[in-house]
């Protein structure tokens, strides 16, 4: 072979490699396996497992999957990071827990600052909701790539609204109470939300707090929720149960399942819940759910007092600092969060992706026309949503949840609850 031909061939090979998607090229050059920790009791897992199978088939890289439940995944991850066994290359984390993972120096930044090859490209960054990236960015560094979103929405029964002469969903707290009173009768409740002690009732309070114009923590990380806005928020939450009696009295035991079951079986006329409830209510066969309200599900932004906001969270993919093969992990993350994968997430999983462009994708409009208004609304909610992410989130939610619970059952006043919570949160964060 002549030298010229050799260099031409070589140039062609290099060019061909350059045209190959980055993740297949890099993955092919990596070790033969990549390990991932996944949380299986989430709506996301049903499409994530299919994507993992696709990745294996396309690249020949074996996926070593470690499955966990959301209830105890963080202690298990922490122990694995400490013991360096197993050495995950990728972990799926709810951003609620990311501050303590970052504080423990367990996660690698994904903005090129730790490894120039592990960097979310700018064009991809621009595609994510700003608020979504805010939830996975700490001290100016990106620590996770969001893969799905959950934000609070209002669901309501269009048929019951029509019966009661209500023409549109409530936009203010006063309207919420007024409508809920009209709809509470004969075993049917006007409204429902997650209210069990822990992150659940803390989340509900967090949303009411921001809707009242308050903030959870100040810029120094100290409690700011025991403010006038905080008092209005908790008083409103307590009054919905004890004064207006428009939520079931057992609301202080309700997790996600109780709220969605009550809406789907027709017990609740309105509910504050997550985006996946729309799919469960209107496309129940795809969800394997039973819906007595099919065809009657309305959805809207949450009512508010001062600020029109909702709380939200991401599930995100992260790379532990103990990863055996961080580059292989990054290649997998890029695959799982590529536009094609996110499109698959929406079309197959009926889940909310973190990529804005997917909401306007022609295939979504063509294949899911009935979802388009829903997606438009959700994208709008995400523009102003507030991440439910703060330091020591799990411990803070636990202590706050206990004090909020006492106020909900009338053992203490909302002011006493907020003051006690603030003192306990200060002690917790101080350690």
């Amino acid at each position: 072979m002549r030298r010229r031909e050799f260099f031409r061939l070589g140039a062609g090979a290099v060019t061909a490699m350059g045209l190959t998607p980055a993740w297949t090229r890099a993955a092919a050059a990596q070790a033969k396996k990549v390990s991932i920790g996944v949380v299986v009791n989430t709506s996301d897992y049903k499409w994530i497992k299919l994507l993992l199978q696709q990745y294996e088939q396309k690249t020949g890289v074996k996926i070593e999957e470690f499955q966990y439940q959301s209830g105890d995944v963080i202690p298990k991850y922490t122990m694995a990071f400490e013991a360096k066994r197993p050495r995950f290359d990728v972990v799926m984390i709810w951003d609620f827990y990311m501050p303590q993972m970052v504080a423990g120096k367990y996660l690698l930044p994904l903005d090129g600052s730790a490894d120039p090859k592990i960097k979310l490209p700018d064009e991809d960054r621009a595609d994510y909701f700003n608020q979504s990236l805010r939830g996975v960015t700490f001290d100016g560094h990106l620590y996770g790539v969001p893969e799905s979103l959950d934000a609070g929405m209002l669901y309501y029964r269009k048929d019951l609204f029509a019966e009661a002469g209500l023409k549109q969903p409530p936009r203010t707290w006063d309207e919420l109470v007024e409508y809920a009173k009209k709809l509470t009768k004969g075993g049917q409740w006007g409204y429902a939300f997650i209210g069990a002690p822990g992150w659940t009732n803390t989340y509900t309070f967090f949303e009411f707090l921001h809707q009242a114009g308050g903030t959870f923590l100040d810029v120094k990380g100290a409690p700011a929720f025991n403010s006038e806005a905080g008092l209005k928020a908790l008083q409103f939450m307590v009054d919905l149960r004890n004064k207006h009696r428009v939520v079931p009295p057992g609301i202080n035991t309700y997790l996600n399942t109780e709220v969605q079951t009550g809406f789907l079986n027709g017990t609740f006329a309105m509910a504050r819940h997550w985006p996946f409830l729309f799919g469960m209510a209107e496309f129940s066969e795809k969800w394997g759910a039973k819906s007595a309200v099919k065809g009657q599900t309305g959805y809207a932004r949450l009512p508010y007092l001062v600020k029109d906001v909702a709380g939200f969270n991401n599930w995100a993919y992260c790379i532990p600092t103990t990863a055996e093969n961080p580059q292989a992990g990054w290649d997998l993350i890029q695959f799982l969060t590529s536009k094609d994968s996110c499109l698959f997430e929406m079309l197959f999983g009926l889940d909310m992706t973190a990529r804005q462009s997917i909401y306007r994708h022609p295939e979504v409009k063509a294949k899911m026309p009935e979802f388009v208004p829903f997606f438009d609304l959700f994208a709008g909610i995400m523009q102003t949503a507030v991440p439910f992410v703060f330091p020591e989130a799990a411990g803070v939610s636990e202590v706050m949840g206990q004090e909020i619970d006492k106020a909900m059952v009338g053992q203490i006043t909302p002011k006493q609850a907020l003051d006690a919570a603030a003192a306990r949160v200060r002690d917790l964060v101080k350690r």
Partner: protein, 287 residues
Amino acid sequence: MAYGFILPSLALIGGVMAYPMFYSFYLSFHFRILSRPRLGTPFVGLANYLEAFRDPLFLRALWQTVYFSVVSILAECVIGLGVALLLNQRFRGRNVTRGLVLLPWMLSPVVAAFTWAWLLNDAYGLVNFLLMKLGVLHGPVLWLGDVGWAMGTIIVVDVWREVPFVAVVLLAGLQSIPDELYEAARIDGATPGQSFVAVTLPLLKPSFMVALLMRTMIAIRLFELVFIMTKGGPASTTEMLATFTYKEAFIKFNMGYSAATSVIMLLLSLGISLVYIRTMGGETALR
């Protein structure tokens, strides 16, 4: 050679039980936040134990655990004895009935907890629905969300689940009592009630001790029913030592403190067991 045969079991027990127990004991004298490894694991002496006895939430959980254990075990013993006496009679279908009685105990505690949580839901649970339909209730009861009802509800569910175990243990004891003793008592003019007090109860003492010991150790570490049905609420009125320890360890990552509370649980369990053995472990004598 005998030691050679039991060595594998000892190694397994040592690895699975003894090492975690001793490590937990060691950790209880140290400060350790799992999510803050850079803070290290400094020795703090008895600080964790002192903190526990100054912590109103821990003291509340301790009291509620003792209260729950005493009430539920007492109920289980009384009802269990009644069930055992019934099952000791001869009647048609006795063997099938014995099997059916065991069903609640055979259910996994997690499955039982979830099932009861659904049945007792205030808005759409079957219990409220049926009781209102029968006219027993005029409105729904907040079985799990009311401070006055929640602990009682947990106790009732636990009794439902554990009575079969107590009944089976006592039934075994009843069946080991020779008929001749009852015959002798009858000949001496004893009434059935007198036979029960003078013959049955004393000879059932060993079985009672087994049932009490086992149930006490399990009751003190009650977790699933509370965690699934109430999460320790409402207003911490069903918080138990086990759920408290879990939250300290796996939500707040306060490993040193949670190790101390788990050692306190162990000591409580051991202490009560010793009391049982001393008071009830003596020779069984007939009056």
